[in-house]
Assembly symmetry: C3
Homo-oligomer: 156 residues x 3
Amino acid sequence: MEGLWFKEVEQRRRFVIKIAPGESLQRRLAEFAQATGVRHAIIVSAVGSLQDVTFRGIKTGAKLPITAPRIHLHQVQGPLELLGLTGNILPDEQGEIDCHLHVLAGKSSGEVLGGHLLDARVFATCEIVLTELAAEGLLRHLSRTGGVPTVFIETP
Amino acid sequence: MEGLWFKEVEQRRRFVIKIAPGESLQRRLAEFAQATGVRHAIIVSAVGSLQDVTFRGIKTGAKLPITAPRIHLHQVQGPLELLGLTGNILPDEQGEIDCHLHVLAGKSSGEVLGGHLLDARVFATCEIVLTELAAEGLLRHLSRTGGVPTVFIETP
Amino acid sequence: MEGLWFKEVEQRRRFVIKIAPGESLQRRLAEFAQATGVRHAIIVSAVGSLQDVTFRGIKTGAKLPITAPRIHLHQVQGPLELLGLTGNILPDEQGEIDCHLHVLAGKSSGEVLGGHLLDARVFATCEIVLTELAAEGLLRHLSRTGGVPTVFIETP
């Protein structure tokens, strides 16, 4: 089926993670993965609050592939309520752990900002629940069409 | 307990799904369900980017039931970062698979749009993780009060 | 590892919950927990629509701990599409069930509002999927640094 790939995966360990005020979300998640040996995982729940959130949006009207001039970088001091964190942890082509995360964060006004997360610091607390996947055959590498690292599903 | 229904359901297969640039999100998800025989499922994770996103909001001050004049239709060319996709796949009254999806998508400015998803095309990539539920006794049919198809939980 | 705690938890029962139009989301969720004996759980999926949504944001530039004058309260009549509901159910220091929920909701215009949810009434429907966690050693109590109740992970 062109344009569509899928693979059944087994669920393994499930973790509750808490990150303290002032800490880097990305760095602490990577340290968690290192300490537990988690290599394939998805975020299933995240609540808390963030500050110094750096994320990007794609410029309106941009074409593929996504390149630096087609991206709009945002830095918001906040603090912001953490309203959503979705994404996955997968090894990249070098076998290094790579966290691909998208963030949703609420401003004082109640309006919501969000995009592809580069990094953020925890404000009051950050509580994450994560599910490990036994996902042999799942890899992340650069998509030439898309210009971004993306999941590749190996089919037998 | 009036106004509240619940049912314990078993978790079955878990899938990682990838949809390629240019493809229809709704059509490809329906094809996935067809190919795997998945009839009851929930989206647990989705990241990527979208274009030509069609979704609806409910007009401010609208009463029940939700009818066409009480809905506001939006079409956004984007591209937009895909920041959230929640919803379920359930059979409808005719036994056909029906995907009820709500979308959250980030603009170039960092502002977030969202609503009840009608359709969207994948921009750079779209990575979905989905859990099948062994949910006998779960059906979707039209709620006369609400005006929309909704889950009905059969109780013994 | 300072600033980072984690704990492997087992997944137990999974529930589909439906709340009827006009009902309080917070009260009905608490009743569900009472009726089923669920004490530790996370929301994994939620779709539907809401009205009379009360939520809070943190004031721009606020410092820790989060106190009443550093919070901005919002009340939105709507109706709004329910686009995201993340959070957890945990016992507090008195052993009472406490739902910590963050909401994302779409306006007629397609713009998205959100924050820490205080309460909301269901509009047309509300369909929630929730996973119980067998999480001995997980407690919620007040963080003196953060000013908010937060998860504490007991380590052996």
